[in-house]
């Protein structure tokens, strides 16, 4: 074998090995979550709030409720801003300000979650003088908006320009073209993007630490402190009690399931869009 051929084989082996390694790591992590998570699952886990200090049993119903409420409200707040900003950028392609907006969206996507959390604290919690689920939702909305903006723009750019021109040629105004043609044509893609963004914020912990703060009770009032699955995992993971550590694993399992579900729905929608395009 010539050295070149040898190098070719060695490098081929190495790149394949790194792929195998990645899969191995993933399998190990998922396996741990699955095994440790399922082991301690029981009905109470889903339906009960945490047991009072010192007692055994109890569950994370409070955190499940919290994750749903906080995520949904964050998405509800963030969607209009993100979508309209995305529409703006897509409709003003090539203009200087649209480029600035896009750059800001990109930059905001890179803001560390803990910074979002601190901002939520100083901007909302300090002003309202109370920890609250709502301030957590608003903090998460700051993460939700830039991703939604980018997704909306990208999906709108996929709408064939011929369709928009046909609408304009019929005398439609821009708002009508965007709503009735672009958005409708891109609806599945945008929904998919929203679901992906929701999957992302549903797993965020740092923005909740100093805003939602956590609560041992099942809380439905957005103006009060509230728990959430990621928060509960963090707190239980750091607890010295094995029973709580076990609950952290189970909560992690539930959270991963939830996120997978959201991602799966998003993928499914995307697949449908691609089929329609083809």
């Amino acid at each position: 074998m010539t050295p070149r051929k040898l190098k070719n084989s060695v490098m081929g082996f190495l790149v394949a090995a790194s792929a195998v390694l990645l899969i191995a790591v993933l399998v190990v992590i998922v396996w741990h979550i699955f095994i440790s998570g399922v082991k301690y699952l029981n009905w109470n886990f889903f339906t009960k709030a945490p047991a009072p200090m010192g007692e055994s049993g109890g569950g994370v119903f409070n955190a499940i409720v919290g994750t749903f409420l906080i995520t949904l409200v964050a998405a509800a707040i963030g969607t209009p801003f993100g979508m309209f900003a995305g529409i703006y950028v897509a409709e003003h392609r090539g203009r200087r300000f649209a480029d600035v907006v896009r750059l800001c969206a990109d930059a905001l996507q890179g803001v560390p979650s803990i910074v979002i959390g601190i901002f939520g604290y100083t901007f909302l919690v300090v002003r309202f003088r109370s920890y609250s689920a709502l301030s957590a939702s608003i903090a998460l909305a700051f993460m939700f908006v830039p991703t939604t903006t980018r997704v909306t723009e990208e999906v709108l750019n996929l709408v064939p320009s011929g369709l928009k021109e046909a609408a304009y040629a019929l005398g439609a105004r821009q708002s009508s073209v965007v709503w009735n043609v672009s958005i409708k044509t891109a609806a599945a893609g945008i929904t998919s993007g929203l679901l992906t963004s929701m999957a992302r914020i549903a797993g965020e912990t740092a923005p909740l630490l100093f805003t939602a703060f956590g609560s041992r009770y099942v809380e439905w009032n957005m103006l009060r402190p509230m728990s959430a699955l990621p928060l509960q995992i963090f707190i239980y993971a750091g607890s010295p009690y094995p029973a709580l550590q076990q609950q952290a694993w189970s909560a992690a399992f539930v959270l991963v399931l939830l996120i997978l579900l959201l991602q799966y729905s998003a993928k499914h929608l995307i697949a449908r869009v691609l089929r329609v395009k083809a």
Binding site: G162, A166, A169, L170, G171
Partner: protein
């Protein structure tokens, strides 16, 4: 020879993409209830010309145009661009029915997209008469509520014609509407044109000399962004007055 009635007149139209000037002082008078073919080699500005008429051209970033367009004697620059487009319909090179709309909705798209609400009966009636005008009624009668994109290519293009004329425009612009279609669908659309002229005036961009000869009453010949010859099709094909037209007709340019 008797002067035809004019539906649209352009005066000294100039058009640019960025710094590139595409059209130079184009002045033309488009006769009413006739088919006017626009001919010329590829890239000579045919598409650009028809798109300046309904001001789609100006929507491209960096594109602009000057000059006057008179629609039935009225300077279109004094009209809201939306109204100009309601009165000048357009059919594009590729069939582009709205994929999110049914056949029925596609015919009414002009009304739906401009926020005009029609009573059910009126809507039904518009759909039927318009689809009859484009010879599509019998073919799609049973598919009215299927997606517009579920039709064949030729049917889709006729649906797009229906969509344009449902708004009762004074003038319809066709930009090479058959170039993406098979010969059969092409001849169906060609035959349609003369029927449509009883109600509408038509500008028909085409590459093909044969096609222009077959379908048009008048022909405008473009070259390098200039309108070099305009006249009755028979006259121009038999005795072109401009050397460039003659060369083109005898096949000296692509």
């Amino acid at each position: 020879m008797e002067e035809p009635v004019i539906v649209l007149e352009t005066q000294k139209i100039n058009a640019w993409f960025g710094k590139d000037q595409i059209l130079f002082d184009v002045s033309a008078r488009i006769p009413k209830n006739r088919v006017t073919a626009i001919m010329g080699p590829s890239g000579c500005g045919k598409t650009t010309f028809v798109r300046t008429l309904n001001r789609l051209h100006q929507m491209t970033p960096g594109a602009r145009a000057t000059g006057t367009v008179l629609l039935e004697g009225i300077d279109t620059s004094t009209m809201d661009v939306v109204d100009v487009r309601k009165h000048i319909g357009m059919v594009f090179q590729r069939p582009n029915p709205f994929p999110t709309m049914t056949v029925y909705e596609n015919v009414l798209a002009g009304y739906l997209l401009t926020g005009q609400r029609l009573p059910r009966q009126k809507a039904d009636q518009i759909v039927e008469t318009t689809l009859r005008k484009v010879g599509l009624w019998s073919e799609v009668q049973s598919k009215l509520f299927k997606a517009g994109t579920s039709l064949s290519g030729g049917q889709q293009q006729r649906l797009c014609i229906a969509r344009a004329i449902a708004m009762e425009p004074a003038l319809v612009l066709f930009d090479e509407p058959t170039s993406a279609l098979d010969p059969k669908s092409t001849s169906v659309i060609e035959e349609l044109l003369s029927d449509l002229t009883t109600e509408y005036s038509i500008i028909f961009v085409t590459h093909g000399l044969q096609q222009a000869a077959r379908v048009s009453d008048y022909v405008a010949f473009f070259m390098l962004g200039e309108l070099v010859e305009f006249g009755e099709t028979k006259r121009v094909f038999v005795g072109p007055q401009d050397k460039r037209t003659e060369d083109y007709l005898s096949g000296k340019y692509g």
